[in-house]
């Protein structure tokens, strides 16, 4: 599925809850519980994302020209947020990830606008994912 298709799927999923914030959060928490967990060996300080009130570890690797992300957090709502981000971009190419705007975030009406969500670390997570993508892209171009 393309990034746009996955984002649409997420938006539709959350639309089912209408104005029921509890339902939305319960779904988010559930997504967090089922997300692709980072391998314990990668839960190191250098993989910690700064700027979050909670701890967030993010790991990425290249598989068949696609970037695969895994993560974890000590806060369950934060975990749900990362699970959504990972669902959108994991398994996509570096180029696609770098240009992703994560339009679903504003549409699901759950998390505040990107620019103000400093406390839940959303901005830092998105930034780190894009930086990882950029690093892989540069690695690839050096090879060429």
């Amino acid at each position: 599925m393309s990034i746009a298709e996955i984002e649409n799927e997420i938006v539709e999923e959350f639309e089912l809850f209408g104005d029921d914030w509890e339902g939305k959060y319960e779904h988010l928490i559930d997504l967090g519980k089922h997300m692709p967990l980072i391998d314990e060996q990668y839960k190191t300080d250098d993989r910690l994302i700064r700027g979050c009130q909670s701890k967030v570890w993010l790991h990425s690797e290249l598989k068949d020209e696609k970037i695969v992300f895994t993560a974890d957090s000590d806060a369950i709502i934060t975990k749900g947020i990362i699970a959504l981000l990972i669902r959108v971009i994991s398994g996509q190419t570096a180029e696609e990830i770098m240009h992703t705007q994560f339009v679903f975030i504003n549409k699901i009406g759950l998390i505040e606008h990107l620019s103000v969500s400093r406390s839940n670390g959303l901005v830092s997570m998105v930034k780190q994912m894009k930086l990882d993508a950029l690093a892989y892209k540069q690695m690839k171009s050096y090879k060429l």
Binding site: W21, Q53, I77
Partner: protein, 413 residues
């Protein structure tokens, strides 16, 4: 439904009418504002004073010959006198307007530090200080080669006075401690702390940011050398704060920032600085801040700090018992003397998650390390959920909080 008794003489519902923001809805729910420790809400008396200043009084102070300038100069100096009376300072020139507690402490660390601190000297702070009362001293120590000494705390969150006594010595040059802990609510025995330092002629700075909204402060009775607080935590505007300093210290200390208003005469060879308090007030000050702060102090005094303390004590007891009854909840900071601040954690749930779910229910609390990372390290926790209560809060709001926490636990476990 259980009826809630209220022993206070205060009419809280009338008081709440004074605070326009308290009738606001947040996330579709009536706002329950339990974060006054971060910043307090403002009564309309303060909002009106600021609005009135811009509509009828605006001019620069201490400069103009014209009527408006003279009138606002009088009003601003009246605001200073209001602060002076409120703290029971001996002299009005001992009251310096700053931008807040942070700037007040930075002023003393820089100015006092410049002339009195040298290599090998010691500065005493405590383990429960806000970063604002750690970093200026830490930076000063790094610059001068001085040493920062830290008074430890016990598990309840009380300062170990015996340890403090051991730290005091002939190398000590200043002691800087908080009156009330922003994270734990502990009210420190500052009068005793000051007296002990004075036995060996060491001055003491008290960070009063979290104390002034809750308790009556008398700087002469405390015998504090410096006392700092912020306007916005005392129901006044942001961007204004106070440094009280004993005249003898302030006279000896050099200006910390210089510019317009701080001088007597300027030539390119030599400048003679103005007398107190203007020596420390460079540039056009936060005039409406001073006016608004005076209105806030008048407002608090009209209600009466004794009434406020008594009611807040009732709120604190009520909230403490209700919160303790929640399974898995642990209160951090159980000092015998406490202001109406409660920090807690819930087993296996991150504070941030609880804060998020409470926010969705219109309940404003604070989560995190509260700018007291060394204290968090002491307790071995990443952060807490902090509830800070003031006189406009009610027991009904505490019930809403307790229900909100129970809902959060149910969702997050």
């Amino acid at each position: 439904m259980e009826t809630i008794t209220n022993n206070s003489t205060l009419n809280i519902q009338n008081i709440r009418q004074d605070f326009p923001i308290l009738s606001k809805n947040v996330n579709g729910k009536p706002l329950v504002y339990l974060d006054s420790g971060a910043t307090a809400q403002k009564p309309k008396q303060v909002i009106d004073a600021i609005s009135n200043y811009y509509q009828t009084q605006n001019a620069n102070i201490h400069r103009g010959v014209h009527q408006l300038s003279q009138e606002i100069t009088i009003a601003y100096e009246h605001a200073r006198a209001t602060v002076q009376n409120h703290l029971n300072a001996a002299l009005s020139q001992e009251i310096i307007f700053t931008s807040g507690t942070t700037e007040s402490i930075n002023l003393v660390a820089n100015s006092f530090g410049k002339i009195y601190i040298k290599s090998g000297d010691e500065i005493i702070i405590s383990e429960m200080e806000h970063h604002s009362n750690i970093l200026p001293w830490q930076m000063l120590c790094e610059e001068k080669g001085a040493v920062l000494k830290v008074i430890p705390i016990n598990e309840k969150g009380e300062l170990l006075i015996d340890e403090y006594k051991k730290l005091l010595c002939n190398k000590t040059k200043i002691v800087a401690v908080t009156h009330v802990s922003n994270t734990l609510g502990t009210i420190n025995p500052v009068k005793e702390i000051i007296a002990l330092a004075h036995e060996i002629n060491i001055p003491v700075l008290i960070d009063g940011a979290q104390a002034v909204p809750h308790i009556k402060v008398d700087v002469q009775d405390l015998d504090a050398d410096f006392y700092c607080f912020s306007g916005h935590k005392l129901f006044g505007p942001t961007g204004v704060g106070i440094l009280y300093g004993k005249e003898k210290w302030l006279n000896e200390m050099p200006p910390y920032k210089v510019g317009g208003g701080t001088i007597k005469t300027v030539t390119f060879k030599k400048t003679e600085y103005a007398a107190l308090p203007l020596k420390f007030e460079a540039g056009t000050p936060h005039i409406e801040g001073g006016i608004g702060l005076a209105a806030a102090i008048d407002y608090v005094n009209e209600i009466g700090l004794e009434n406020i303390s008594a009611y807040e004590c009732e709120l604190l007891d009520y909230a403490t018992l209700k919160l303790m009854a929640i399974e898995g909840l642990r209160i951090i900071g159980t000092a015998k003397e406490k202001a109406s601040v409660i920090s807690f954690i819930i087993e296996e749930i991150h504070p941030l998650d609880v804060g998020t779910i409470l926010d969705k229910q219109g309940i404003a609390i604070r989560t995190g390390h509260h700018c007291t990372q060394p204290l968090m390290k002491h307790y071995g926790i990443p952060g807490t959920i902090r509830v800070s209560l003031v006189f406009y809060n009610t027991k009904e709001e505490i019930d809403v909080l307790v229900n909100g926490i129970q809902k959060a636990i149910k969702m997050l476990k």
